[in-house]
Every structure is written in C-alpha cells, then in structure tokens.
Symmetry: C2
Subunit: 298 residues, 2 copies
Amino acid sequence: MSDRLHATVLEVGPRDGLQNEARALSPEDRIAFIARCVEAGARRIEAVSFVNPKRVPQMAGAEEVMAGVPRRAGVSYSGLVLNRRGLDRALDAGVDEVNVVVVASDTFCVRNQGCTTAEMLDAWDAIASAAADAGVPAGMTIAAAFGCPFEGETPPERVAEIARRAHAAGAFEIALADTIGVGVPGQVRDLTRRVRAAAPGTPLRFHFHNTRNTGYANALTAVDEGVTILDASTGGFGGCPFAPAATGNIATEDLLYALHRGGVETGMDMEAVAETGIWLGGLLGAPVPALLGRAGPF
Amino acid sequence: MSDRLHATVLEVGPRDGLQNEARALSPEDRIAFIARCVEAGARRIEAVSFVNPKRVPQMAGAEEVMAGVPRRAGVSYSGLVLNRRGLDRALDAGVDEVNVVVVASDTFCVRNQGCTTAEMLDAWDAIASAAADAGVPAGMTIAAAFGCPFEGETPPERVAEIARRAHAAGAFEIALADTIGVGVPGQVRDLTRRVRAAAPGTPLRFHFHNTRNTGYANALTAVDEGVTILDASTGGFGGCPFAPAATGNIATEDLLYALHRGGVETGMDMEAVAETGIWLGGLLGAPVPALLGRAGPF
C-alpha cells in the first residue's frame, strides 16, 4: 500500500508512568526522561501534572520540569489539570495543551479528586473556558470509562453523556481511559461508536492499562476502528493503586512493535524507546513491565 | 444473544509450560497440576512429551504421568510425538491424541528436531499412518509459523504448503504456533485464510506466546476469525530458549478473562486457574507471568 497507516503515540510515562511509583524521580531525571522520549521520536508528551504535590509527591516540581524540557518544533507538551488553580499553574509553566481528567464513576471520582462526576464536569466547563481565553487547547480524559473498582462496569451511556459535555465546551480531543485495566475489545468498539456519535468530529484518543493482559488487544482494536491516537508509557510503568501488584500502562515500546509490524507507522524508534525503558527501570529500582527490551526486536 | 460463542482452551502448561523451566517437576507434581486443570474445567490437556528425556529432562517420566492422570469422560490427553519411537510410547501410555510438531523453517527444525522440514514431513506421514492404524487421532502443530529466530519472517506460502501435507495425511486438527512470539493480528488473519484454503474442513488451532506482548491480541483475533480452539498455559509459564529473559505462552487465566468478558464461554473456572498458576509458581520457584492472579478478577 502506498497510503501507509499512521498513528500518534502520546507518551504518558513522565506523568502516569511515574505518579504511582514508590520512588519519586527528581525534576532533573524527569527532564532527562522527556528528552530521551523526544530523541526517540515522541511528538506528544504528557510531561507534568498540576495537582497538589502534597497529594502526589511524585509530580512535585512541575514548573521546574516544564522549564527544562527541550523545546522543539512539532513537539507538544501536555499537563494534567483538575481545577482552575492547576490551569493557572499550567499556563504560567507554558504547556502546549491541558488534559482535564473526569472520572466516570462517582465513587472513584470522589476518592480520586474529591468531587462527584457532575461537580468535576462543572470544573471542566470553567477550565475549558479559561483555557480557550488563554489560547491553549484543552482536552478531556474520561477515566474509569470501562470499569470502576468500586462500582463495577461503567455504563457506556454515562461515558457518552460525559463526552457530550466535553464536546459542548469545545474539547479539542476526548480520551477514554481504562484506568484499572478491565476492558476488552468489544467495549472498545462499542465506546468508540458511542463517543463518536456524542462528540461528532472530535478526535478520539485511548488510554489503556495492561493490568489483566488485555491492553494491547484493546489498543489494536482501537486502531482497527480508525482511532489514530493512543497513550502509552515507556517501560510500561504506571501501576494502579487499586491493584498494587499489577502492572500498569501499556508500554510504548511494545505498542510500537505491534503497530510497526502491523503496518502502522508512528515516526518513533522502537529500540530507542526500549533502551529508555530499561534506563528508567534502573532509576526507579523497579522491574520493567515492557517485554520488548527483554525479548529483543525481531 | 441466546447463541453464545464457545471456545475450547487446550491447556499446554504440563508440556510447553514446563519443558523450558529451570526446575524440573516430578511426575507426581505434574499429575497434581493436571488434576487441578481438570478440576478447573480443562477438557483438552497436552499432558506429556515423548521426546528423548536426555534432551528434555523436564519431560522425563511421561509414562508415569499418563498412568496417574485422572481419567474422566470428556477429558482428552494429548502427547507430543516427533518420531515412530515416540508414537509407540504414546500409544502404550494410552494418550487420547497425538500432537506432531513440524517446524516451518529448516534451520530451526534442524536445531530443534535434528532434521529438515521436508524430513519431518516424511516422519509426519509415517506417524499419521501408524496412528490411524491404532485408531488414535493425530494432529499437526506447525511451529515457527509466524517467524523463526534464525531465518526471520516465515513465508506464509510455506505454512500453507505444510498444512496441505497435514491435511493429505488426515490430520484431525492443524495448529499454527507462534513459537518465538513475534506475530501480530494481521498475520493471524492472513494465515487463517491460507490454511483454511490449504486444508479445507480441518479444524484450526492457534498457539501463541506473549514474548512481545502481542499474544492476547493474536488470540482474540483468531476467535474473531471464527477459530474456536486456542492453546494456553496456566500461569503463562513456558519461556522460549531463544529469549531467555522473555515470558512464555499466553496464560490460561488471562485468556479466560478476555474471552469470558468478551462473551465467549469456555466452561472453565478462571479464578481456579489463577490459583493454580500461583501454586505452580511456588513449585517452580519462579515469578508468575500471568497477570490475573496479581490483579484479581473484576
């Protein structure tokens, strides 16, 4: 085929990959990690989180990180934001885009963010409006879109309704996150269709965890459905606090292997990412969940 | 839907799961493992290998294992066979079916089995004929059907040609094995179509390794293509000697999770399998590659 398929892998390692690790990395180490991602071809990176550093010490020093990341044409840095205070910090720090997380189940939203889903949607409206005034694109990640550790299966109608709110406030992108890694490909297909109908024209992104070994199948199913933006974390770090022994995000290097071998281009260097995964495991003092670095390429 | 989908998971843990582990289990432990699989609902089990115990000491005592496995209506035990001597042992030991492995690439076949693919196909003809005379079904597993550690990508035409030979000699089933875990879903779809055309009417089985995190996506793709028989190994044991640090077979418990949540019934008890995976990890003194036992069900 002359028209090769292309997908964008959004590197979330510096944020979701690190925020639950036992060992917190310094801003310097996080800058070095991000620089390695850029070198390996990443063009969208979730670099920082503007949450309260008392609650998530691993994400402290977001401003220092943003001040030190390599600025290069075509590279976009995203910051996670949950409220107006976070947005102000993100704008001051010079992020290229903001990512607002809305948890789809009330119990999980209250435990994670201290407010119900409805309250978080009101916060989203305010953040989206202020971000638009500042000329910075705001997108929404719908967390626990596949299932909740407290409430079980997430009703897909609820996810679609949240997506409708995202769309109404001008989200430049909507992401569906399987935060606790319970989803299966049939759900990916169903949610893709529902969210596209609820938010017509808004690009869709997926965020998968491989907690129960369904993450890569889900990611490839999303691509099969025409989704072209996928989150992944170098090394596969990013365990879930609700399953402490479980592995985390799908690994960037393993996702690249499956995409490249399946004829989908990403512009990224799989082997360089695998080396960064091993390097990161050394910094974190933790085993690397990604498999490509262990198995080697083919 | 009232017509639920159904898939059969062939438990290969007692053979492929154990044959590369550093610690060899006694026949008694292997019988206990098999009994636990039967209790959890497995109805097809690759229990033993009739290869030379000097070459694969982990598989020594196949006769003792077969003498001790629980005999129950509807449970079928398979033995791996590579030559007439192995077949005679398998028939004497009372297996219900024999599995003949033909490696699709010459270099790998010579290193693994001491003969070329063509020579192994001649051996297959002889084994299939003798098994038919004895009234025992013989099936073929085409190993390295997706790729070879020495020759790279396996030409799919070659796999189809081997399948034609299997079909001509009356194979009751043909399995395609991604022995080194390099395959991706597009290959699964392509090979499924080619082998069905080469061996019309012969049931197709797949055998995936998760060496580079594509195994579960491949398995679910096969089901999507209408394949209803999949190999898996409790706990996900079964590392590949060509990638010593890499993980092995797809894990039975994780495959069951994906199938059951996707609406495909198997008749097996996912949580009982996960407990056996943890038990087996204790016997082997090795970390359990399966994720369900760590993460818990949903």
